[in-house]
């Protein structure tokens, strides 16, 4: 019987009649203050920059041209590919990808370990992993910077012990940014994988072991394919915010570690800014993210179809 009358299908709760008024605030808030702004941003990316920060309503491809092509100092030379911004984007993608992989390498064993604890200690582990997720990202990034700076609590004891003579050059390097991204988003990797492992039927592993598969073969052949949706979700949750990250590169990195977030931010600072160019860079970033999310949606759909 229940099959014919799924929860919420009846009119007993009466909310069917007032769906539109219930959703109106959501539509208005997100529609006006997010969808409309994004559309406007798309338009801005085709406008002409004004010098004191702002725009002139003349449509042009100048911003995208500036992003991808170099026409010389005076704009009259034959165009060649401009590598500056592409390099920044490429570095961002690379950094985000590496951060995602490191998060996965540490996050999966951790998630597995937590999910296989008895209920009481599992709750404690989960609680401990969740707390950093709730702690202000700025504070966590500042704390990390404090820890790894030249005269910080990491380098000092190592030097005092004579293990190193000079402080490890961590701050203002790619490594620091990498560490920052990893540190920022690690909980995002652990939680969805944990959720997947918790639903994993351990009898599958027992069946594999029974059929002569070793522990690690079982992990590779059975466990990973089954918990894949959780792994993909974790990777997306780490990769996407890493790509547009601002705090970790800004606070931990230096000039050589410039990432998309900082590039965009710079375009909206004071009179040096270039709003149309910033809007164009944001559009390109959003396109990248949408492509990733579309792959994710397709993977999900395929998973659902099975």
């Amino acid at each position: 019987m229940a099959g014919l009358t799924p929860s919420g299908q009846g009119n007993g709760s009466g909310y069917r009649r007032i769906v539109a008024p219930l959703l109106l605030p959501t539509w208005l808030m997100i529609g006006i203050f997010l969808v409309l702004p994004v559309l406007l941003m798309a338009i801005y990316s085709f406008l002409t920059k004004e010098f004191r920060g702002g725009v002139i309503w003349d449509f042009t491809l100048a911003s995208y041209d500036q992003f991808f092509l170099n026409r010389g100092l005076f704009g009259d030379e034959p165009p060649v590919i401009e590598w500056t911004y592409i390099t920044i984007f490429w570095r961002s993608i690379w950094q985000a990808a590496v951060a995602t992989l490191i998060c996965l390498a540490i996050g999966f064993p951790t998630a597995w370990f937590i999910a296989t604890r008895p209920p009481r200690s599992r709750a404690i582990w989960l609680f401990l992993i969740t707390i950093p997720y709730w702690v202000n990202l700025l504070i966590r990034t500042v704390s990390l910077k404090f820890l790894i700076r030249d005269n910080g609590p990491l380098n000092e004891p190592l030097m005092a012990l004579g293990l190193i003579t000079d402080p490890l050059p961590l701050v203002n390097t790619n490594l620091a940014v990498q560490l920052g991204l990893f540190y920022s988003y690690l909980p995002f990797m652990v939680l969805p994988i944990y959720a997947a492992v918790e639903r994993y039927n351990f009898a599958l592993s027992e069946a594999a072991a029974d059929l002569y598969a070793s522990r690690w073969v079982t992990l590779w052949e059975i466990v990973l394919p089954v918990v894949k949706p959780g792994i993909i979700a974790g990777c997306i949750l780490v990769f996407v915010p890493s790509l547009g990250a601002f705090l970790a590169p800004d606070l931990l990195g230096g000039a050589k570690t410039f990432m998309i977030g900082s590039l965009i931010d710079e375009q909206f600072r004071g009179s040096q800014g270039n709003w149309p160019f910033g809007a164009a860079a944001a559009m390109i970033l959003m396109t990248l993210v949408l492509i990733v999310l579309m792959f994710y949606a397709r993977a999900q759909a395929r998973e659902g179809a099975r």
């Binding site: 992993i129 910077k145 404090f146 820890l147 690690l186 977030g261």
Partner: protein
């Protein structure tokens, strides 16, 4: 013979994970009690930097920023929670309707769009419509990105409540509003509180979007801390950080307890 759940090395990884997550926080907490003016050397235990936060030269700035942060977080979380409750009623109890999946996408849109893009778009929008950036613009932006965070736990809770409770109430002569107020809302409450707490923390946390739409002279705690850190990490920042850390821990514990109580009231 160990079971199939056991993998050698996984314990080490899990412990490493905790160490990495907690080491910076613990170090900052410890150094916030450092009596020395220098952040490098340890000068003994002291509460002086906590005193400095409330009475020192930067105190007025941080107080104003904290007040802004807290009032914005309360208002934004309240508004987002109210909107999310209405939305989840429509999405979970409203049956099938046209535009349902589009609405679902819309609710989740703030999670999909990278923060920096939202920040840029919102700034452009406010400047285009001529809205002066300040308290109001921060509040509006915060309500928008808090909606999906409030929506998640509320929906999860509502999905777990059979509609037979409301039907029983209607059957016993309650109007729809009475059935909501007297039966459904009390049952949803743990989810609503979780949603509010999550939205509150998310609002309190936000730096990037706030930094874009705050306008000159307006500060929230994160933007004030960021401004200060740009000049170098000072001990008073560590004291503030430690206090915010304590607030976060308090909130997780609170939301954890609310969920525990929620599970007990569920038959």
């Amino acid at each position: 013979m160990k079971g199939v759940r056991h993998y050698p090395g996984f314990l080490t990884m899990a412990v490493a994970c905790l160490v990495i997550l907690y080491a910076p926080l613990i170090v900052v907490t410890v150094y916030s009690f450092n009596a020395s003016t220098s952040i490098t050397t340890w000068g003994g235990f002291s509460w002086r930097w906590y005193g400095d936060v409330f009475t020192g030269p930067e105190a007025p700035r941080f107080k104003a920023a904290a007040w802004n942060s807290i009032t914005i977080a309360v208002l934004a979380a309240s508004a987002a929670t109210t909107i999310a409750v209405a939305a989840s009623l429509a999405m979970i109890r409203g049956g099938r309707f046209r535009g349902k999946s589009a609405t679902f996408a819309l609710i989740n849109l703030p999670l999909m769009v990278p923060e920096i893009v939202t920040a840029v778009a919102t700034l452009i929008f406010f400047s285009a419509i001529g809205l002066v950036t300040g308290y109001m613009t921060i509040l509006i932006a915060h309500i928008v990105f808090c909606i999906p965070f409030a929506y998640l736990p509320i929906t999860a809770r509502l999905q777990g409540i059979e509609d037979s409770y409301e039907q029983a109430a209607r059957d016993l002569y309650a109007t729809q509003w009475q059935a909501f107020r007297l039966v459904l809302l009390p049952l949803m409450l743990p989810g609503v509180i979780s949603g509010f707490l999550l939205a509150f923390i998310i609002s309190l946390d936000d730096f990037i979007i706030t930094n874009f739409v705050k306008g000159a002279g307006m500060e929230t705690l994160p933007t004030a801390i960021f401004g200060s850190v740009k000049q170098g990490i000072k001990p008073n920042i560590m004291a503030i950080s430690t206090m915010m850390l304590a607030v976060s821990v308090l909130f997780v514990t609170l939301s954890y307890l609310v969920n525990r109580i929620g599970q007990r009231t569920r038959s």
